[in-house]
């Protein structure tokens, strides 16, 4: 039945058209006029569209964010949340006029740190692997592992940090470089010289990190004022891990900083590191040259003053800049010193005041070249050793504690083909042994960073 409907309609239309022949001419004229107007209308619209296309093709046009986002390729969900990974490779070639084996810092206790000029010839340095990411809206986490040339992996830092505490507070926990002074928090690849200043080597075995917690507060002022406090397990020189429960050791620090116009900026700080040592052992030799194992038990308190000043013409650090920095540290230790733990096991009082400082300047004179100069000086002081004053033993029974004034002068030049590679030539006149014979040390070092673009600390 339905098949007949269209036919019926056609017939009806045909009849209607045939039935009104007189009006056909009028309609044709009207249709032609309508078509003409449509045509001219479309011409205008096509021209407008063409103009828009030309405009779009000639330059990029801003688009709303949602569109731009949808245009970006979606990363696979399995890897999209991978942490930022960066790896720093370091290596050096060293030439020293004296045997590095007998290098020591006169008057300062050996502290077990990887200090000194290192080995002669070619050495693979520490490869620093860092993984970092936000955990959630409240925390970030970071791991920095050092893979040493001796095939060991050391956890340099592994910590969480808060993102959302109120009132300018930031908390950090895990293992981290302590926030005292200026250089202690700086990773090896970012040092301006191939090694740490002597005062850091002597008093902290290069850098002090511990397992613990840190709380920092930043004042809500235009002047930068930062206060920090740390506590932890107290381990790491000059402290030792105590046998009891609870927290051990306190570090307090304050930093203040600001600008001097557009071209220069500065930061100064003061820090206090209060630790306890319990049976802190070190190797020495008695007056006859027999090896002995001694130990210190008592309190170790260090205060640190640090200052940094940076300047660049127009404040444009990319082209030329100057960086001056210096730190002074003084440590007082008092308690008991045990002599020859394994045999004689004599114990009496011990008190010492030791200090040191360095001053350095680094100048970037063209975008890829920097030159630097550093002077180090230490004063071991004369420790009051109860066993010596009582006459039980001679000063010569404690050769590691014989007073000394070690010093060193270092010059360096580095070439930075890009932000990610550095070649450094460093020359030191090292008198750490304080025996009148200068150790001339030449170091050629390379540093390469691959992976995530890390941000640089001040």
């Amino acid at each position: 039945m339905s098949g007949y409907k269209p036919i019926a309609a056609l017939v009806a239309v045909a009849c209607a058209v045939l039935a009104q022949p007189a009006r056909a001419e009028d309609d044709a004229a009207a249709l032609r006029a309508e078509l003409d107007s449509l045509k001219s209308d479309y011409d205008a619209r096509v021209a407008a569209l063409e103009a828009r296309i030309a405009a779009l093709e000639s330059a990029p046009v801003a688009v709303p964010v949602a569109e731009a986002m949808s245009a970006a390729p979606a990363a696979s969900s399995a890897s999209a949340f991978n942490p930022a990974i960066s790896l720093v490779l370091a290596g050096s070639y060293a030439d020293t006029s004296r045997d590095p084996e007998d290098w020591r810092i006169a008057g300062f206790l050996p502290n077990g740190g990887e200090i000194g000029p290192g080995e002669r010839s070619f050495s693979l340095g520490e490869s620093e692997l860092t993984l970092a990411a936000s955990v959630d809206p409240y925390f970030t986490a970071q791991l920095t592992a050092a893979i040493t040339g001796e095939d060991e992996i050391e956890v340099e830092e592994a910590f969480f940090r808060t993102l959302a505490l109120p009132a300018g507070l930031t908390a950090k926990g895990g293992r981290f470089f302590s926030g005292f002074g200026y250089l202690n928090e700086v990773h090896a690849h970012a040092w301006d010289f191939a090694d740490q200043p002597l005062v850091y080597q002597a008093l902290f075995g290069n850098q002090r990190s511990q397992d613990g917690v840190q709380l920092k507060w930043l004042a809500p002022t235009d002047l930068f004022i930062e206060l920090g406090a740390e506590t932890g397990n107290g381990d790491a020189f000059p402290g030792t891990r105590e046998s009891g429960n609870g927290l051990d050791g306190t570090t307090l620090f304050a930093h203040v900083g600001g600008d001097l116009g557009d071209t220069a900026n500065w930061r100064v700080g003061g820090s206090w590191i209060d630790l306890d040592a319990e049976g802190r052992e070190y190797e020495d030799a008695d007056i006859a040259g027999n090896p002995v194992l001694n130990a210190f038990t008592g309190s170790s308190r260090t205060w640190v003053a640090d200052a940094v000043f940076k300047w660049a013409p127009d404040g444009n650090f990319a082209r030329r800049h100057l960086k001056l920095q210096g730190e002074y540290m003084e440590r007082r230790e008092s308690g008991e010193l045990a002599f020859d733990l394994e045999n004689a096991a004599l114990v009496d009082s011990y008190r010492s005041t030791q200090s040191g400082w360095y001053l350095q300047g680094v100048y970037q004179f063209t975008p890829r070249w920097r030159a630097g100069l550093r002077y180090d000086a230490l004063d071991s002081g004369n420790p009051a050793i109860g066993l010596v004053t009582s006459g039980s033993l001679a000063a010569g029974d404690f050769p590691a504690l014989l007073a000394g004034d070690p010093s060193r002068t270092t010059a360096m030049v580095d070439w930075n083909p890009s932000e990610f590679s550095r070649w450094r030539l460093q020359y030191s006149w090292d008198e750490a042994r304080d025996d009148g014979d200068t150790d001339r040390q030449l170091v050629l070092q390379y540093l390469f960073g691959i992976g995530a673009h890390g941000a640089h600390k001040y």
Binding site: A62, A68, G168, H255, R267
Partner: protein
Amino acid sequence: MKNFTCGTVALLILAFAPPSQAAVRVLATTADWGALTRELGGDRVDVYTATTAMQDVHRVEAKPSLVARARTADLLVANGAELEAGWLPVLLQESGNARIQRGAPGFFEAASAVRLVEVPAKLDRSMGDIHPFGNPHFHLDPRNVAAVAKSLAARLVAVDPAGADYYAARSADFDRRWSEAMTRWQAKAASLRDVPVVVMHRDQTYLLRWLGLKELAAIEPKPGVPPSAGYLGELVTRLAATPPRMILLNAYNDPKAANWLSNRVHAPAVVLPYSVGGSAAAKDLFGLFDDTLARLAGAAQ
């Protein structure tokens, strides 16, 4: 002694007084986004600009004064697209300020409002200091500034809802003045179409595309890589066949290489302000483009 104590107390009060009168404290990473925030925010914003036009924004120190400003900021206006990758993360981390962390309403990236060009298909640092999300120097196309303005005005309202009407009015006013200015600039730019130029770094790309200038070469062989003498020699040979009409560089660039090339290829080296504050005339965003076009048109004659 009394005077000394009074002085110390006064200093301490000055140091600790929260320095906030305006409703919204803003930390802008570049002079341009700082200027745009001032246009839109007027008296309701207190804008601190982290860098000047004379500085290379890729390489900025995360200095104490910036950490302190980040601490008290209600809104961070950044360029984004990794332009500030070398220093902004440290500011955010050290600021102890949850309001301006990534994802919070107080964290604004201008790049989120525009589509970037030169997004690298492949990421490898052998290609120089490339930006994975595309060329981040998009403020030199005024159409992008207009898009960012709309997005930023909405963000100001989100951070400071009490000023919604105020921001809407200022935003509409800015949009009107900006459209007028764009018409003016476009008319002036007609004579610049297809003029061949040599650039310093790829941070003038958006300006070139907007004006229809033709980029023959860049003085930097790869982004962030300074030219060697050998490369500059090659460039002179290459440009002999198709000489540029001018060599463009920014106020913060070292002019040495550009001037050297300028003498060899007999084309003037034109220093563009690049950012607000990059020249005496570039006092605000309008001045930036007025001066840029005046300098280009002057050199093209």
